[in-house]
Amino acid sequence: MTADIVIIGGGPAGLAAAVSAKEAGVDHILILERDKELGGILNQCIHNGFGLHTFHEELTGPEYAARFISKVKELQIPYMLETIVISIGNDKTVTAMNKEKGLFTIKAKAVILAMGCRERARGALNIPGYRPAGIYSAGTAQRYVNMEGRMPGKEVVILGSGDIGLIMARRMTLEGAKVKLVAEIMPYSGGLKRNIVQCLEDYDIPLKLNHTVTGIKGKERVESVTVAKVDENRKPIPGTEEEITCDTLLLSCGLIPENELSKEAGVLLNPVTSGPFVNESLETSEAGIFACGNVLHVHDLVDYVSGEAQTAGEKAAAYVKGLLPASKEETTAVSAESGVRYTVPSKLDITRMDEEQMIRFRVDNIYRNAYIAVYLNEKCIKKIKRPMLAPGEMEQVKLRKADMEQCDGLVKITIKIEQEV
């Protein structure tokens, strides 16, 4: 088989990339999805709060996905379900497998990585004790309850206050479980404010910051967990332990981009995001392989995923049509400094850049009344005042091509956080 563009993953990223590539005039597109249906993680996110930016209404996850699924169907973009990609060669040969065809290969001109992310198991692994039944990742529990209609347990403790953990605290409460506690090892929650208010405070579920689970009791099934306060180095403080009876422990310890396939294809990964390094066109270190969505960096708002994926689709289409000149060796680095953990993209080829370029990033801590500052070489060209910046919320700044072109000998763009003086 051959295709102009093979898209790996049929979540919101893959769907939006497919639509924009098709609209840019590429016909031979194929979406490969390992699940039984298109839509990705959105199918299990039945709560509302999606699409505020894109559609100006609050949709649920499945509703948001449906808008893109119907677009894909309307444009007659081919897709294969229950088809898992098992490798990508650096010549862009994609090897996949399904029941009908067995193992098969597709020779692609361009590949878009849109595999999303998986849940981090870290944090769970260093809890001493047995591994009885009743320990789930929050995302797995979400799938059970929302898609399969079964409850993992009755008395619940949640470790980690990421959005999935918060959403599941409410969901399990509504379904009749008692959520006793959400423990968060950091001094702040990694979740959105609205989720803390609407998922915990609405139901009087306590959130304990600077706390972690230090032990699990029970051989067959979880019987109780021990929760303790931690010091500044996130080490449990002796004497603060408290035993809480429960039959279920949910782990919401963050998400990590799913990049096993990318690595094999020779794509270089950023150790900060665990996603590929990309340039202005969202092209990875391998020419013609693009990335978008949670596989690139973990997003909290699906709207940003769709926007990013649209760019990846357009650029992949341009690549296939020979309209995207090979990237020059001497690209301009985008450097993340003081307070900025990373940027996507991490480099720019100004000759290939659009009139405006979005730079997305996350900060490393909570900042109040701080500035997002943009420097071209040593010169500050932009300072945006922000009353509040938090690690849980992705930030973005727009760069203008005109500014870049005016700067003589531009070698480095720096994004940093500056405090009020």
Partner: protein
């Protein structure tokens, strides 16, 4: 006069609001940085509502659960009643987004609608 503490959820700043409720029902909000916080605080103290999202059972689809939501926000104190009323509801595929699953939930006059397309499974 009654006082209540709230957190505004309209933007990431998350201002701590103070709501003063007068005898005559008038509400004064302080602590907000912008107008949106005032509107939110007033609504939250006088008539808090929530859109409820949950699932009902479905026969004949690929999966046994169908996601649904209240078409509009319902009074916050009706949330559990709403969930309870949906406990024994079972529908049959096919179902389309926006299909009414329950006409008037918990006496609010607000319908519960499907949020997912579920085609009939051929097995």
């Amino acid at each position: 006069m009654e006082e209540r503490d709230l957190v505004c959820i309209c933007c990431p700043l998350g201002c701590s609001l103070k709501a003063k409720i007068e005898e005559n029902g008038e509400v004064h909000i302080s602590g907000n940085t912008c107008k949106r916080g005032e509107d939110y605080g007033k609504k939250e103290t006088t008539a808090p509502t929530r859109i409820v999202t949950t699932t009902v059972r479905i026969k004949g689809g690929v999966l046994p659960a169908l996601s649904v939501k209240t078409q509009d926000g319902i009074p916050k104190n009706k949330v559990f009643e709403c969930i309870q009323a949906l406990q024994d509801v079972e529908v049959e595929a096919p179902v389309h987004i926006g299909d009414i699953i329950f006409a008037d939930i918990a006496g609010t006059g607000i319908p519960v609608i499907a949020t997912k397309e579920v085609e009939k499974c051929m097995e």
